[in-house]
């Protein structure tokens, strides 16, 4: 991990406690974390800033989904790696995510595996 510049990660999750644990996990791993509790909040952040990686829960507030957030991200920069977290292990969402090039993790995540994968994704996206 280059010390000069920490990778910047946007985490979107509608449950505050879960969001907090993600944030702590990622910061411990050396990421610079920006957290958002809703898609609306995420949109605001995304409008101002570019991230190295976007993590988003599938189910967000009031029928909003993670896919909306990812669309917004991709609209600005199609190369930003996206990772979706979900408790709903169904084929439809999995396929939809895969088609969009979004990596899917099922909750509860295997933390070590999850962290390892994020590193790989970032390495690949920086070429």
């Amino acid at each position: 991990m280059p010390k000069a510049k920490k990778p910047e990660v946007l985490v979107v999750e509608d449950e505050a406690s879960v969001l907090l644990t993600y944030r702590l996990l990622l910061e411990e791993e050396g990421y610079k974390v920006v957290a958002a509790l809703s898609s609306q909040e995420a949109e605001g952040i995304l409008a101002k800033k570019r991230f190295d990686l976007v993590l988003c829960d599938l189910t967000l507030e009031q029928n909003h989904t993670g896919f909306e957030v990812f669309e917004r991200v991709r609209k600005r920069d199609s190369k930003v790696p996206c990772v979706m977290l979900t408790g709903y292990a169904n084929r439809e969402t999995t396929e939809r995510a895969e088609q969009a090039g979004i990596r899917v993790f099922f909750k509860p995540i295997e933390i070590e595996d999850f962290l390892q994968t994020l590193k790989t994704i970032l390495r690949n996206s920086h070429g």
Binding site: S17, V18, L25, L85, G87, N90, R91, K107, P108
Partner: protein, 705 residues
């Protein structure tokens, strides 16, 4: 026949008495010298003429024809003999009537005759009995009877009751001249009587001679009979010494030329066995039989005989020996045994047939569907109780429904019996005799052929489709209910899982962040926290597996699902030193959710892995089992491991939720989910397990087209 030498010895000058004596002696000597009965009459006639009579003849009688004719004559011209030809039954002939009286007499000259005739009848007579009468101790010997009372018997009855011999009857006829005195007549009478005695003696000898020749012929005939017999015949004397053997017996009891040592021993043994058998039979009774095993000297084979033994006796009832006839019963006994064995077989077969019939009757009575058996003319011969209710018992049912049912059955049976089909499956509408309503039956018929390939019987089973359909509907509904229940449970589980998932995620992540921030005494508490959270995670994952309402359902290849699953677990299995043997048969696609099948296989493979902590073998087989119709059938999957097995007391409940053999490590949901998915696909799952040996799961899915 004259004997000149003897006659010469008689001098002419001797006194009457001397001459008479000498005549008598010389005559006796001459007669004695005769060796055949035919020689007697010529000598007699010569002696009569020598006595001083002019001429003489002997008349002979033939008892067969009754003819009387001169058999010997002296000094008669052939023309003179003609008048002596007569018949025994010529009663008017004085000669014949005199002959019948049996006593000598002088016959006065008749017309044409110049001089009287002395007639002396000669009849076979003897002081002693013939040997036949003697042997048989009879008192009716003809010779003796004639000797005692010659006049008693008519000439034509001169046949001996003892030996059947026909006596001779003759009459000496001597012409008496004027010069012949009474003394000469007495001498003549004596001479004739003497001649008759000699004649009788010769006749007896000749009879014996003839008798002997007859016996000789009989003996040679008997001998030929004995030799020609295929069975051994042995004649033994009273000391059991062999007198005679036939050829068949020689084979066993006579030492052949150039016999081997073994052959000689066989003959000795045969003789030994035979005399032993004879002795015991002689002791046991007058006639006896017993089995005797002898060795054929030529062939060296053992032959089983039945020896039948009969004693022989002398004329005075003394036992003279034995006749033994032996019958080769080797084949007979074998045949007898075969017959017995066949009889037993037949009885056994009969028993089997009886049992089969009883069993069949039992089957027919318990099928639960009406059964009709008809003969080759489509006439019903057997109805089971249910069929009787439908078609009635007798030939003339009174109920209208029964009449109509019978008519429909007759039409159906006739059409089937005379069709070319071996079996048929047709709907048949019949009336319920109780309610008079129409019921639809499915009639399934088959033909039974006899040995010639002709239809012997037809069997028809009727299935009440109405009832069957009702039952099927009920079963379907029950299954739907099960499926619905399972789905509802799944939905509930899924919802709960989702709700739990997020807090669980936070807890998990928080626990992950804890290490390093804890004081050492808190470590055990942290460990509990960590392991129990992992357990909750596993339960939630399993529950989520239950709820996949958006799964794609369609035809898929089960084998590729198996391959995928095994690939997924390949690393884990090889780390656990588990050998995987897969045997994937060619399968038709099955319709369902491939994802759910993946879950089924994953759960079963994980269970197998966990059961083989020290390694082992996991066999997976898939197979297409074709149904008799060739269209449907099922796809079967077998998973067999060599793991720790399932305890006997748990085997019943492994498919129930929250039952686990893995203790803390298991969720108790794996097999419950497997069963749910299998039943969702109309499949079946069975488990067999032996603790310490391993577990086998067998899954079967019907192929739906």
């Amino acid at each position: 026949m004259a004997t000149p030498l003897l006659r010469k010895a008689v001098p002419d000058s001797e006194s009457f008495a001397e001459r008479r004596k000498s005549v008598r002696d010389s005559t006796a000597l001459r007669l004695l010298s005769a060796e055949r009965s035919e020689e007697i009459f010529p000598i007699l006639l010569e002696e009569i003429v020598a006595l001083g009579f002019a001429r003489a003849l002997v008349l002979g009688a033939d008892f067969e024809s009754g003819a009387v004719r001169p058999v010997a004559a002296l000094k008669y011209q052939p023309s003179q003999l003609q008048k002596f030809h007569s018949s025994l039954w010529a009663g008017e002939n004085p000669l014949i009537s005199l002959w019948h009286k049996g006593k000598p007499a002088v016959l006065s000259p008749s017309a044409g005759d110049r001089e009287p005739l002395y007639c002396h009848p000669l009849l076979y007579r003897n002081r002693n009995q013939c040997w036949e009468a003697e042997r048989e101790r009879r008192q009716d010997c003809l010779a003796v009877q004639n000797f005692r009372s010659p006049q008693k018997l008519a000439l034509q009855e001169q046949v001996c009751a003892s030996c059947g011999m026909r006596a001779y009857a003759a009459m000496a006829v001597v012409q008496v001249g004027r010069r012949n005195h009474n003394g000469q007549l007495r001498q003549l009478s004596n001479l004739i009587e003497t001649a008759n005695r000699y004649l009788a003696r010769l006749f007896k000898v000749e009879h014996y001679y003839n008798r002997m020749r007859e016996m000789d012929i009989t003996i040679s005939q008997m001998h030929a009979v004995m030799q020609s017999m295929a069975d051994p015949v042995i004649l033994t004397d009273s000391h059991h010494r062999v007198i005679m053997l036939n050829k068949a017996a020689e084979r066993f009891f006579k030492m052949p030329e150039g016999v081997t040592e073994g052959g000689a021993r066989a003959v000795e043994l045969n003789n030994l066995y035979f005399s032993a058998a004879l002795s015991s039979m002689a002791v046991s009774g007058t006639e006896s039989h017993r089995d005797l095993t002898l060795v054929d000297v030529m062939e060296g084979e053992e032959v089983l005989f039945e020896a039948v033994c009969a004693p022989t006796f002398t004329s005075d009832r003394v036992r003279s020996g034995m006749v033994t006839v032996m019958r080769d019963v080797t084949d007979l006994r074998r045949a007898d045994q075969e017959v017995r064995a066949n009889l037993q077989k037949l009885r056994d077969a009969e028993e089997v047939v009886r049992q089969d019939r009883d069993r069949l009757n039992l089957v027919i009575e318990n099928v639960g569907d009406p059964i009709v058996v008809a003969d080759e003319a489509a006439k019903t011969v057997l109805l089971d109780p249910l069929a009787k209710e439908l078609f009635g018992l007798g030939d003339t049912p009174r109920q209208a429904a029964l009449v109509r049912n019978q008519a429909r059955l007759d039409a159906y049976l006739t059409a089937f019996t005379f069709s070319f089909a071996d079996n048929q499956n047709r709907p048949l509408r019949l009336y319920n005799p109780a309610s008079n309503s129409e019921i639809e039956y499915a009639a399934r018929s088959g033909k039974i052929y006899d040995a010639r390939g002709q239809v012997a019987y037809t069997v028809t089973v009727l299935r009440d489709l109405t009832a069957w359909k009702k039952l099927e509907q009920l079963q379907m509904e029950r299954r739907m209910l099960e499926v619905e229940k399972f789905a509802a449970t799944g939905r509930l589980a899924g919802t709960i899982a989702h709700e739990i998932n997020n807090p669980l995620e936070a807890i998990k992540n928080a626990i992950y962040l804890l290490p390093g921030k804890l004081k050492p005494p808190a470590q055990p508490v942290y460990d509990i926290l960590k392991s129990e959270t992992e357990r909750v995670t596993r339960i939630v994952r399993q529950m989520l597996g239950l709820y996949r309402n958006t799964d794609q359902v369609g035809p898929f290849d089960l084998n590729s699902v198996v391959e995928d699953t095994l690939t997924l677990f390949a690393r884990q299995l090889s780390t656990a030193t588990i050998n995987v043997e897969k045997q994937l048969g060619k399968l038709p696609p099955i319709v369902g959710s491939a994802d759910q099948f993946r879950q089924v296989l994953s759960n079963l493979v994980v269970n197998a892995r966990d059961s083989m902590a020290k390694g082992g073998r996991l066999a997976i087989r898939t197979r297409h089992v074709r149904a008799s119709d060739g269209v449907h059938g099922s796809v079967n999957i077998v998973l067999a491991d060599t793991g720790c097995g399932i305890p006997v007391d748990m085997l019943q409940s492994v498919f129930e939720p929250f039952v686990s053999t893995k203790g803390e490590k298991g969720t108790g949901l794996g097999l419950w989910i497997v069963k749910g998915i299998v039943e969702n696909h109309s499949g079946s799952i069975r488990v067999r397990s032996r603790p310490g040996k391993g577990t086998i799961f067998k899954l079967a899915f019907p192929i739906v087209r």
